[in-house]
Each structure stands twice: as structure tokens, then as C-alpha cells.
Amino acid sequence: MYEFDFSFLNDYMPDLIHGIWLTIGMTVASILPGFVLGTAVAVARLRGRPWVKRIATVYVEAIRNTPLIIQVFWLFFGLAALQVHIGPFAAAVIALVINVGAYTAEIMRAGFQSIPRGQLEAADCLALSPFQSLIQIEVPQAVERVYPALVSQFVLMMLATSIMSQISAEELTGVAYMIQSFTFRGFEVYLVIAVFYLGLASALRFVLMGLAEVSFPRRRRLRTPL
């Protein structure tokens, strides 16, 4: 009978905590730039000149139809081949932003398309510039409509950081690999790591939903669920 041994939890706690922080760091650093990039690409696909639209579409389809890990390798080893050394953390964040930007673009596009035409007409007639109308009227309403989808996308992105140890960014999964290679307790180590990720995913969901309470005062006041 196999005997479980979780003593590594004591011995390697500092490493685990370090890994968790790196995972959180990558996630937090990628969310806002990823959102901004995705929103910009969504606007480009909806309003851009034909060539801008084409570039935006190629970007979205190229990213959505290839694995993240290939994108990460392409960027990380590619930069190294160009003698550009930015370190694994920066490379991981750039790859995550480019990746999540494409998915966010599709979500935000749906959000923009769901805004009634009359809203834009009203903004126009109040002499708001196209950019003011985008920032003041369209983005807030689009985000509100697609917020749950955005949250799910960012949770998936957090989970996807688990492959960044492949480019030697020692996030949580990377730390787990190191621990199992010393203790030969792979099963226990990854079970514990799985629970950590579950906790991180719930925490991220909780924080982002809390952010919604702050960002959408109308929802808070009227108690309408997202």
C-alpha cells in the first residue's frame, strides 16, 4: 500500500510561496495590458480602415488557432536568437498579454456590437468626439455586458501561467517540478499544487467580481447581477 507523505510542505514552504507570488505577479501584470490591447484590437476590427481590420483579424485568428506554449517558445527563443535578453518573467508577461489580447478582442467585439445604435447617435449629437464616445459611453457599457466572460478568460490565463516554467520562469508549477525531483513525491506535490491553483482561481474570481462592484456603481445600487 502506498503511503502518502506530505512532509515536503514543511521543508519547501518558502519555495512554494515564492512560486505562488510569481504566478500572481505574472497574472496581475498581464490583465490590464491584455485588456487594453484586446479592446484596441476589437475597435480596430469594428471601425478600422480595411487594412487595419485585416491586420487585426490575422492577429486574432493566428493567436486563437495556435497553442500558447508555441507562442511562448517563439517569443522567448526568438528574442534570444536576436540577442535580446529580457528575462523569462518579462517574456512570459509579453506572451500572456499577446495571447489574452486576442481572446479579449473577441469578447469585447461582442460587447461593442451589443450596444444599441442610439447610444452612439446620442453621443454624437452631444458633440462628443469619437474617442470621448468610445471611452465614456461604449467601453463602460461593453465591459459591463461581457464582464463574466472577461473574468473567465483571465482565470484561464492565470491557469495558463503554469507552463511558464518551460522557459524557466519558476512559477508555482516550476517550483513543484523542482520539489518532486528532490523528494520523488510527484503525486503528492502535484495534488497540493492543484489545490493551490483552485484557491488562486477562486481568489482571482472573487477579486475581479469585487472589482466589478466598484467599477459598476449602477449594478451595486440597483442590485442587478452581472
Binding site: Y2, E61, A62, R64, N65, T66, P67, L68, I69, I70, Q71, F73, W74, F77, G78, A80, A81, L159, A160, T161, S162, I163, Q166, T173, A176, Y177, Q180, G186, F187, V189, Y190, L191, I193, A194, Y197, L198, A201, S202
Partner: protein, 214 residues
């Protein structure tokens, strides 16, 4: 060609073959697991609903590479030495089963309640109601998201690289290590993934539009 030898390119395509095999395993396994999950998620028994929902939430809250590791080391503590293909196939089965189950649950629930009632009024048994009335309608709704998820399966087989499963990602990594031509090698690998995934994405979109129109 492209600065790579024929052998190197052949090696990469060999990896692509295993990517397809693992994808098929993942889809077949995911279907076998996903169907009972979908049924349990929409069943009348609360215990079944809670249990299946917990399983789905667990798998969806854990990164696929970690599931790969758990399965890989889990099998080996039984004292079995298994090929990475089995571990990766099992992990893909768990992963696809959870997501497909959730997708299909949504499709079953999208069939209007009145259809169940109408079937009941025709004195069909619960099983007959499901098989003859609800299932055919749910299947139609299920096609676009299922094809769409197959793209996710193909892309996510790449995570099997963490347990050293020989697939397209692994073979590309090996060739890059020996040639150090990352742009060529990974662009080629990306192009092969794209060639597999993009047609399915287009198909999913087309089905989706067709469904919306009718």
C-alpha cells in the same frame, strides 16, 4: 528547405502525427466521460448534480499541465511504468470530459421545457423522452460549441510537453535545441497547428451562424 534538413522536417511532422492521435484520444475519451457528466449535471438527483458539478469545477480550476502531472505520477505510484501517451490521454480525457460535459449540459437545458412536457403527454417513459425528443434537438445545438472545443483540445495537447510526451510541440522544441533557428522551427510548428485548428474554427463559426438563422 527553410534551412532545415528533410529529416528534421520529417521529425516535426512525426510529432504532428502524435498531436493528432492525442487529440483524437482526448476527444473520444472526453465524449465517453462528458456524456455522463452532462446527464448528471442536468439530472433530477441533487447528489448527482452536486458531485458532477464539483468534479467539473475541480478540473476547470486546475491547469491542464498540473492535471498531466497528477495523472502521470498517480499512475506510477501504483507501480506501473506507463508510456506518456497513456498519462497524457487520461489527462486529456479528464480535461475534455469536464468541459464537454459542461457544454452539453447547457445544450440539454437549452431545449425548451415544453418539449419535455409535450413528450410526457404522449406517455413516453423518461428515457424515451430524452432519447427521442430532447436529444435530437440538443445535438443540433451542440454541434457548433463542440467543434469549437475540438480546437481547444488540439491546442491544449501541447501541454503534454511537460510530461515529455512526443508531439508537435516536443519535436519542435527538440529541433530548435539542435538547430537554434527558433523563428523557422516554431513558425513551422505554429503553421501546422493553425492548419489543423483554423478549418475547425471556421466550421464552428459557420454552424453557429446556420443555427442562429434557423
Amino acid at each position: 528547405m527553410l534551412g532545415l534538413t528533410i529529416q528534421q522536417i520529417a521529425y516535426i511532422f512525426q510529432g504532428a502525427g502524435w498531436t493528432i492521435i492525442l487529440s483524437l484520444l482526448g476527444f473520444v475519451g472526453g465524449t465517453v466521460l462528458g456524456l455522463p457528466i452532462a446527464l448528471a449535471r442536468s439530472s433530477n438527483s441533487k447528489a448527482l448534480r452536486v458531485a458532477s458539478s464539483l468534479l467539473v469545477q475541480f478540473i476547470q480550476g486546475v491547469p491542464l499541465p498540473v492535471i498531466m502531472f497528477v495523472v502521470y505520477f498517480g499512475i506510477s505510484i501504483g507501480g506501473f511504468e506507463v508510456p506518456a501517451l497513456v498519462a497524457a490521454g487520461l489527462a486529456m480525457t479528464l480535461y475534455s470530459g469536464a468541459y464537454l460535459g459542461e457544454i452539453w449540459k447547457g445544450c440539454i437545458q437549452a431545449v425548451p421545457k415544453t418539449q419535455w412536457e409535450a413528450a410526457e403527454c404522449l406517455a413516453l417513459t423518461p428515457a424515451q423522452r430524452f432519447v427521442y425528443v430532447v436529444l435530437p434537438q440538443a445535438l443540433r445545438i451542440a454541434i457548433p460549441p463542440t467543434v469549437g472545443f475540438m480546437v481547444q483540445i488540439v491546442k491544449n495537447t501541447s501541454y503534454a510537453v511537460v510530461i515529455n510526451f512526443f508531439d508537435l510541440t516536443y519535436s519542435a522544441k527538440v529541433i530548435n535545441n539542435s538547430t537554434f533557428m527558433p523563428f523557422t522551427v516554431f513558425t513551422l510548428a505554429a503553421a501546422i497547428y493553425f492548419a489543423i485548428c483554423f478549418p475547425m474554427s471556421v466550421l464552428a463559426q459557420r454552424y453557429e451562424r446556420k443555427l442562429h438563422r434557423s
